[in-house]
């Protein structure tokens, strides 16, 4: 047992758990304030005020909402399939959350008071008879750098469909079932274009590891992003466009929010859900928005690369978040601006426009890659 406690594995696992906890809290805060930002920005677009009563300018609104969600009555309708009804929001949220371990938030940064912290940890563990040698002077701002990072993200995002489809089915209501089926059909269709579009970036980067994809884009004073970087900038720009459109469809947002079209389907797959279970669906949607924004940033816009990152590594976090928030703002902006597609238009667009375009882009990227790379 002492070998287990002393092993490098345990230190690695505890370090990973601490990082996961910190990133998780951070992401929950971002999600909460994205909801708030959405309500305020939509209010500006629609020429009204939005929530501005709880705290200064309504800044405490997310916490008020959370409390409300927790204390609302949790209704489980009689005719539902109880186990699956309870399981569905969990199936949606857990894969969405699991993705965060491969987010590259920033470069290797010096931790303030890192030497003091690592010395304290080493002393404390030595007191209970362990022989740890922790070094926290510089830390990596990601939990793990998987060799298959990008595939891991795609694998987990594709699991989220089950929650929606199972939730729709278990609710035993026609609106929910139709919403769930629509949603899964839409996500399967646009997933193809989404995954095919990133191939251009992979040819450029030569790796699936997200941290290496970011590192490969450093240079030019932090502006050597994949959409600017020769020789593959043209396929990358096309890929970026395809990715952006399919990402919006993948997260079921306007103008592709057919699964929850209020006028036809009440609220789609979560019509029967209330209280915290509804909140879980809601959170999962925003976490997924965050995931596709992070991927867009990492793959196309250079991740944490930006002017001045070489001198001040912590600036990388700022650039990274600035780009991610730009995409989140874009989502909200689109929601305030565009009308909804019709269902056949959506399917036609996905299969007859985006998918061929993505395939063509792969051919283009491969040819350019063979000739110039």
């Amino acid at each position: 047992m002492s070998s287990l406690l002393n092993s490098i594995d345990l230190q690695y696992v505890i370090g990973a758990l601490v990082k996961i906890a910190i990133f998780w809290i951070f992401i929950m805060l971002v999600v909460a304030y994205t909801v708030y930002a959405e309500r305020r920005v939509l209010a500006v677009i629609q020429n009204r005020l939005g929530p501005n009563r709880v705290g200064w300018q309504g800044l405490l609104q997310p916490f008020a909402d959370l409390l409300k969600f927790i204390f609302k009555e949790d209704i489980i309708p009689l005719a539902v399939n109880k186990w699956l009804y309870i399981l569905a929001p969990i199936i949606v949220l857990i894969p969405a959350m699991m993705v965060l371990i491969v987010y590259p938030f920033g470069p290797e940064v010096p931790l303030p008071f890192g030497d003091v912290i690592s010395q304290t940890i080493n002393d404390l563990t030595a007191k209970i008879g362990l022989n740890w040698n922790v070094d926290l002077r510089t830390i990596n701002l990601y939990v793990t750098n998987m060799n298959v990072g990008l595939l891991y993200v795609f694998a987990l995002t594709s699991l989220g469909i089950y929650g929606i489809v199972v939730g729709g089915w278990a609710s035993n209501s026609k609106y929910s079932l139709l919403g769930g089926l629509r949603s899964s059909a839409q996500m399967i269709s646009y997933e193809l274009a989404l995954s095919l579009s990133v191939v251009a970036v992979l040819i450029q980067a030569g790796t699936l590891d997200l941290t290496k994809i970011v590192a490969q884009q450093s240079g030019w004073f932090g502006m050597k992003w994949n959409i600017f970087q020769p020789p593959l900038f043209l396929p990358c720009i096309i890929a970026f466009t395809i990715y952006l459109i399919s990402a919006i469809a993948e997260t079921n947002r306007v103008p592709f929010d057919l699964p929850e079209a209020e006028t036809e389907l009440v609220a789609g797959f979560h019509t029967e859900y209330s209280s915290l279970k509804f909140a879980l669906f809601f959170m999962a949607e925003y976490v997924n928005m965050m995931t596709v924004s992070v991927l867009a940033t990492t793959l196309f816009l250079g991740g944490w690369n930006g002017p001045g990152v070489e001198q001040f590594p912590w600036l990388g976090v700022f650039w990274f978040l600035a780009k991610v928030f730009f995409f989140l703002f874009l989502y909200i902006w689109l929601r305030g601006t565009l009308p909804r597609f019709r269902y056949d238009q959506l399917m036609n667009f996905g299969w007859k426009v985006l998918l061929p375009a993505a395939l063509f882009n792969i051919v283009l990227a491969s040819v350019i890659g063979v000739l110039f790379l």
């Binding site: 287990l4 092993s7 595939l151 694998a155 489809v165 089915w169 089926l181 790796t207």
Partner: protein
């Protein structure tokens, strides 16, 4: 005892329980969900064996694509529970025992004859050159496109044939197409009749 062992035991147990769930449930939806759990725990087992690419593919292809289709079809047809069709398959159960024994023999043969000395796994921190490390994308791609390129291409041709075949089966003549063909046929007949009349 290492972390990998604990993980292995936990997920192997989960896989076995879920596999029993697949065959014992009456409701096809529960069976499908059991199968998804089996596939996901297998993916985790692959991860503990350092087969990261296989693990990701397991989830993307099986859990993420094929099982979604299964669940989709089950829900669309709204099959409430297994229908009593066991009487049609009464000969199958005589086949089940030999097949099970064959599978068992295969497992024993693998355990007995395959070299089980564990490969040295790279630690999470020092990976080295990815193409020489077992289980990475680079390593698998290297093998797939050099030594095993013919089986790989043959498999893709097979899949292409399956796609073309399913499209052929699913193709249905459009109503206007059928109407056009019928019209052309009747016109031909009329012309033949009028020719015969002229000849007469």
């Amino acid at each position: 005892m290492e972390f990998a062992h604990i993980l292995f035991l936990a997920f192997a147990a989960l896989a076995v329980v879920a596999a029993f769930n697949v065959i014992l449930q009456r409701n096809p939806i529960y069976s499908a969900i059991g199968l998804i759990v089996v596939l996901c725990s297998l993916a985790t087992l692959f991860l503990t064996l350092n087969a990261q690419f296989i693990s990701a593919m397991q989830i993307i292809v099986y859990a993420g694509a094929i099982m979604v289709l299964f669940v989709f079809v089950i829900m669309l047809l709204n099959v409430r529970s297994e229908e009593a069709r066991t009487d049609k398959q009464k000969y199958l159960k005589f086949l089940a025992a030999p097949l099970f024994l064959a599978l068992l023999a295969e497992v024993i043969a693998v355990v007995r004859y395959v070299n089980l000395t564990p490969q040295p796994l790279p630690s999470a921190n020092n990976a080295g050159d990815p193409s020489t490390v077992l289980g990475t994308v680079e390593n698998i791609a290297h093998g797939m496109f050099t030594n095993y390129v013919i089986p790989f291409e043959a498999a893709s041709v097979l899949i292409l044939m399956a796609i073309v075949g399913s499209m052929l089966l699913a193709r249905r003549e459009k109503p206007e197409e059928i109407a056009r063909i019928e019209k052309a046929l009747t016109r031909q007949q009329e012309e033949e009749i009028s020719k015969e009349e002229v000849a007469a």
